[in-house]
């Protein structure tokens, strides 16, 4: 076991996979020599050479399109999109190609690619370095969407994603690269130093896709969340002393519906927290699923606490961010009757 922050864990996952499988390659803007603007691929080019870890032209269409071709050849590309806000130019290659290839060719060709991308706000990144586009991809048949919340999960999930034979979008909550974020932007930043999930095995291990983690067991309410929000939620309910059950989804598609259903049936209340804009966000799907499957167990309306339906603002970032105040108020409402 080694202590790793999330960047190191992600780096280690790629390192382990490149070591084990000569078909794993990493690529993207500034990914090669420099090792990525967040340093996630640092050292990989030096270790595995330029044909396995390389910089690319600045064209997200191309990065994903080329990765699909490499995948069709037999490689396992791990392209990086520098910020999730810049994934839109690649959308057609992801939606119409990567996600459809297996189905439309009836298994003749596949796209075993893992697209990594830092996402989410809380870093004063403004509109185009803060977005959470995961909801869009969950609507697309044929692609898996994975979001870790700890170094341990990040490494294990990324390894599982790279080993997966389907295309995976692996979104990395950049606010917690260096430490869990508890939602109080005005308090000193934490590091991963004393977090148990920062104990990460040096070698190969998998955290299976499609399995949620129960971060905390509780009886009063089920809170569904992922990424940065897992920590914000955990801290908030601790501050408020609420006996919530917190489920870290980890994989949005395919979803761990059993864990969700069992928990909501137990607690009778459900809250969903994500940073993405509210309307048609993944929270809507979670809400719909929960009410379809747990309707007769629900004692109060399912609450969504999400980013607002505006672009991510720069100066009012902390008003936009679904932090402790908004989660707290929603909890009060949800628990009141």
């Amino acid at each position: 076991m080694t202590r790793m922050n999330m960047i190191q864990a992600i780096n280690s996952a790629m390192d382990v996979m490149m070591e084990r499988d000569p078909n794993v390659v990493v690529m993207g803007e500034d990914v090669g020599y420099f090792g990525g603007v967040f340093r996630a691929t640092a050292g990989l080019q030096a270790k595995y050479g330029k044909t396995r870890a390389f910089d690319t032209p600045i064209t997200e269409i191309g990065i994903v399109g080329v990765a699909i071709g490499m995948g069709a050849y037999g490689l396992r590309p791990v392209p990086e999109i520098q910020f999730a806000d810049y994934i839109y130019p690649a959308l057609d290659q992801l939606v119409s190609e990567a996600a459809r290839l297996r189905y439309r060719s009836n298994g003749d060709f596949t796209a075993p690619i893992t697209v990594r991308s830092p996402y989410g706000g809380g870093i004063f990144g403004g509109q185009t370095h803060s977005q959470s586009p995961e909801g869009i991809f969950t609507h697309v048949s044929g692609i898996k969407t994975v979001i870790p919340s700890t170094p341990y999960d990040a490494k294990g999930l990324l390894i599982a994603a790279i080993e997966d034979n389907d295309p995976v979008l692996f979104l990395e909550p950049k606010r917690i690269y260096n430490g869990p974020f508890h939602g109080h932007y005005d308090r000193p930043a934490k590091t991963w130093a004393d977090h148990p999930a920062a104990e990460v095995p040096a070698g190969h291990y998998r955290v299976e896709l499609g399995k949620a983690a129960t971060v905390r067991s509780g009886e009063a309410v089920t809170i569904l969340c992922y990424g940065t929000m897992v920590h914000v939620v955990a801290n908030t309910i601790e501050e408020l002393g609420v006996d919530a059950e917190i489920i870290d989804l980890r994989t949005l598609v395919p979803l761990d519906i059993e864990a969700i259903e069992a928990s909501v049936k137990k607690t009778g209340r459900c809250m969903i927290v994500h940073e993405a804009t509210r309307t048609s966000g993944f929270g809507a799907e979670l809400s719909a699923l929960v009410q379809e499957r747990c309707f007769y167990h629900l004692e109060a309306p399912i609450e969504r606490v999400t980013g607002f339906d505006t672009p991510y603002p720069h100066s009012l970032e902390w008003a936009y961010f679904p932090g402790p105040v908004r989660i707290g108020e929603a909890l009060k409402k949800l628990l009141k009757d």
Binding site: T59, M70, R104, S105, N106, D166, P254
Partner: protein, 421 residues
């Protein structure tokens, strides 16, 4: 919008217009057709910057008298020439038949490649059998040249129970990995960066196989085309990038893709990539250009873009009626002739073929296609009976079907049962 400034000239917007519209007499006499044999053939080791002029001429081998002339003459033996002719004629016969099948209501859609058979057939012959093709929807000639079974193609077109794609795709969107033929996409030009990626992977692995890809001149406008060109030049990918300039993109003439200002081969020049402009109705020129580009790719000289200057002799697809937007006389007035006739004339000119054999072959090919059709129709045609079990619809979205798709599958079947169907 204030009033325009009086001391500056008013601007005006240029909107391209093709030279002939319905009712006009088509007259292509001012299309510059350089004589066969006039383009030089650089050594495959020469840098792309040394032969930019090849992007602005036409590589042509077959002259007006049916002789193969000049440095690009691939000097194929008669057997190969006859094989080429046969594959082209078979492609045309296949197209005729399947077009008719669609008109008879046996399937939803079809797309012919009439007039463009040389582009796919000659290229397929010049490539190694294990080179990987990333085609658009108009290169059925590749599959036919590589010996993919006609019956299987038809099964796909009919979405019937012999369809290897289980009825999931629109007709003609073939996929045939074991024939080096990538799954065709409905979204234009997406195959371009994929081909480059495949080629890069092959190069990274020290493999010997190269990639080739095709798109129409209209499709070159897509961002994917540019991304592919950029990746190809940056990594010197071993790939042949074919642009099939058949003058039309549905109802839009090539001017809407930029043909008024320069050639499509010139796009290559823009990236420092080797560019050739080829008489796409001259099967020997297509062969020679492909062979040359393949040699460059195989020797790590990087990518080549080939513009195939040709003409879409029929409608865009079964959904299209070209007489609504272009002169009915265009196909016949086209100055570069018909590719099958030109290759046939060449074989006759060199004493290796005659009209009688050609007519007999045409008959035999029509019969072959008809036989294949009968065979395929045993597996059913579109819409007459459902050829795939319902649950196949939910398979293959992922390698392992997750719970939500299993649930949807079960629900659908239960609902149908409950409704008594």
């Amino acid at each position: 919008m204030d009033a325009p400034r009086a001391n500056l000239p008013p601007l005006s917007l240029h909107v391209p217009e093709p030279r002939f519209r319905p009712g006009d007499e088509a007259d292509f006499s001012d299309v510059v057709v350089p004589p066969a044999g006039s383009a030089r053939r650089p050594d495959t080791a020469e840098p792309a910057s040394s032969f930019r002029e090849l992007a602005y001429t036409l590589v042509r081998v077959l002259d007006e008298s049916g002789q193969a002339v000049g440095p690009w003459n691939p000097r194929l033996d008669p057997e190969a020439l006859r094989k080429m002719l046969r594959a082209m004629a078979l492609t045309r016969a296949f197209d005729e038949r399947m077009f008719r099948a669609q008109r008879q209501g046996k399937t939803s859609f079809y797309m012919k490649s009439t007039g463009e058979e040389a582009v796919s057939v000659a290229a397929a012959m010049a490539l190694a059998s294990d080179d990987m093709c990333f085609p658009s929807y108009r290169q059925q000639g590749i599959l036919i040249t590589r010996g993919y079974p006609l019956v299987t193609m038809m099964n796909q077109i009919y979405s019937n129970k012999g369809d290897p794609l289980q009825g999931r795709q629109l007709p003609i969107m073939y996929s045939a990995k074991d024939h080096g033929f990538f799954s065709i996409s409905g979204n234009l030009a997406t195959q371009y960066p994929q081909a480059v990626g495949w080629a890069m992977a092959s190069a990274a692995k020290g493999d010997t196989r190269i990639a080739a890809t095709w798109c129409g001149e209209g499709s070159t406008a897509e961002g994917d085309f540019h991304s592919a060109m950029t990746f190809a030049t940056v990594y010197k990918a071993p790939v042949i990038l074919n642009v099939v300039n058949n003058q039309w993109a549905i109802s839009s003439f090539s001017g809407f893709a930029g043909a008024e200002a320069t050639t499509f081969a010139a796009r290559a020049v823009g990236y420092g990539i080797a560019g050739l402009r080829v008489d796409g109705n001259d099967a020997l020129a297509v062969y020679a250009a492909t062979e040359w580009a393949a040699e460059r790719a195989r020797t790590n000289q990087g990518p080549t873009l080939i513009e195939h200057f040709t003409y879409r002799a029929e409608g865009h697809s079964t959904s299209d009626d070209p007489t609504a937007y272009r002169s009915a006389g265009e196909p016949n007035a086209w100055p570069l002739g018909d590719p099958i006739r030109r290759l046939k004339d060449h074989l006759i000119a060199i004493g290796e073929w005659d009209e009688a054999r050609h007519a007999a072959q045409d008959l035999a090919l029509a019969e072959e296609v008809k036989r294949a059709q009968k065979e395929a129709e045993k597996n059913g045609i579109l819409g007459h009976g459902l050829h795939q079990p319902f649950e196949t619809m939910f398979e293959g979205v992922f390698e392992e079907t997750p719970w939500h798709l299993r649930e949807q599958s079960e629900q659908m079947i239960a609902e149908r049962k409950a409704a008594g169907i």
